[in-house]
Symmetry: C2
Subunit: 250 residues, 2 copies
């Protein structure tokens, strides 16, 4: 049985608590958050609003925003458990003042009230010693079939790649949908195209599936497009089009 303490009640904290409480190999011994009321959760996890000095856990997982990891870690320097952050971007050495430290980064975008299938989420783990890495691997494998041992540098790259693959693709879809809405066209006009786009990009490399005016340097069409955009969207259009052209023609 793996004993876990969890700090954080944001999107990731709640998703982690829900996923862990479903695993018989994992016992959530404490959940710590800033909100006075304990968040809803399936099992009866002891909830506290401040870090407890007597955390009797194998892993103490910090699921808070990156800029708060340091402040939380400061309160954990006397704890004997392996202190683990869940950030894609933060280096392992952010926890250097803790007795033992590690990282457990689930490469997924978590939004409120939307269930995710943990089985397929890649979980990237890192630790300072083999024992803690083994414990982290045990925890990660209880949640997912896809566990990767990545260094802090590799994880930073994976996180940046995820920003392009999720945050930026999502914003591109938003701009497309917003353009349709402005012209009072149904946004579902784009659904079949989105379906094809995603299927192709994951079944092989996206590079081989590129089409459009930027790739074929169709200047007339691009000029017509730019006329329909405000300056901020023009900047996005030009920056991406230039890079598409360079990727496929230079």
């Amino acid at each position: 049985m793996l004993r876990l303490a969890l700090i954080g009640t944001g999107n990731l904290g709640i998703h982690l608590a829900t996923a862990c409480s479903k695993q018989p190999q994992i016992q959530l011994v404490q959940w710590i958050g800033r909100t006075t009321q304990a968040p809803k959760h399936p099992n009866n996890i002891p909830y506290f609003t401040e870090v407890q000095k007597n955390i009797a856990a194998d892993l103490c997982i910090i699921a808070v925003q990156d800029d708060q990891i340091g402040a939380v870690a400061e309160q954990l320097i006397d704890i004997d458990s392996c202190i683990v952050h869940t950030s894609g971007a933060a280096h392992l050495n952010m926890l250097r003042d803790c007795k033992r430290s590690g990282v457990l980064y689930p490469l997924q975008s978590f939004v409120k009230d939307q269930a995710v299938d943990w089985t397929n989420i890649p979980i990237c783990i890192e630790a300072n010693n083999a024992t803690d890495l083994a414990t982290l691997e045990q925890c990660a494998r209880a949640l997912s079939t896809k566990v990767f041992k990545l260094s802090s540098q590799e994880r930073a790259t994976a996180h940046l790649a995820a920003v392009f693959a999720n945050n930026f693709t999502n914003h591109m879809v938003h701009i497309g949908q917003a353009l349709c809405a402005q012209e009072k066209l149904p946004t579902k006009l784009l659904d079949e195209l989105l379906k094809t786009t995603f299927e192709r990009a994951t079944n092989s490399l996206a590079e081989n599936k590129q089409t459009g005016p930027a790739k074929r340097n169709d200047v007339a069409t691009m000029e017509q497009h730019l006329k329909q955009l405000d300056q901020t969207k023009k900047n996005i259009y030009n920056a991406i089009s230039k890079d598409i052209y360079n990727t496929h023609n230079v």
Copy 2:
């Protein structure tokens, strides 16, 4: 029975020929292309390398690149059929010198040797008169269940939206995959995230699914990301991040 002449043997031309030849309501009476050898196609469509003066068709469909539509249309000014282009970006009046004119724009990205499900492809149609519009609708409905009557301006918007939804999302995925490959990480690390991203973006509005450092103005993470990128990718990162922040915070 709808008689069709088809001009063009590029990606769209071949996909259209394949789709039309499967429809009992449509007869492909002529296929015209620049390549001396007729492209492979399921039925025995008469193939020519030059426009024939005696085109006996209800619709003459021009499936060529936008910058070639004008030159092809010039050769069709004496033809009695309704001359139809298939461009998202080109105005209907590009065919103003033809006796009758229309547009049939399938909103999909066509790549070579990759079958598409025409039933769900939105087909946007436009014509100068009700009779030709009815003929175009008959043709579009034979191919797809999703037919939209759009003006040239509405179609231009739909096309621009499609560039963001397909071309630009695909390039974002490519950058993510390329970053992984540079660091010798498996690109499949991103597959589950991509699956979630596109499912969410199509099941509701992408605007409501945005996450990431730009939305929450996590400056430290963004600065760390920028250090990992070359100048061209930095420009893309900054332009999109700024717009994500403005969309969600201003």
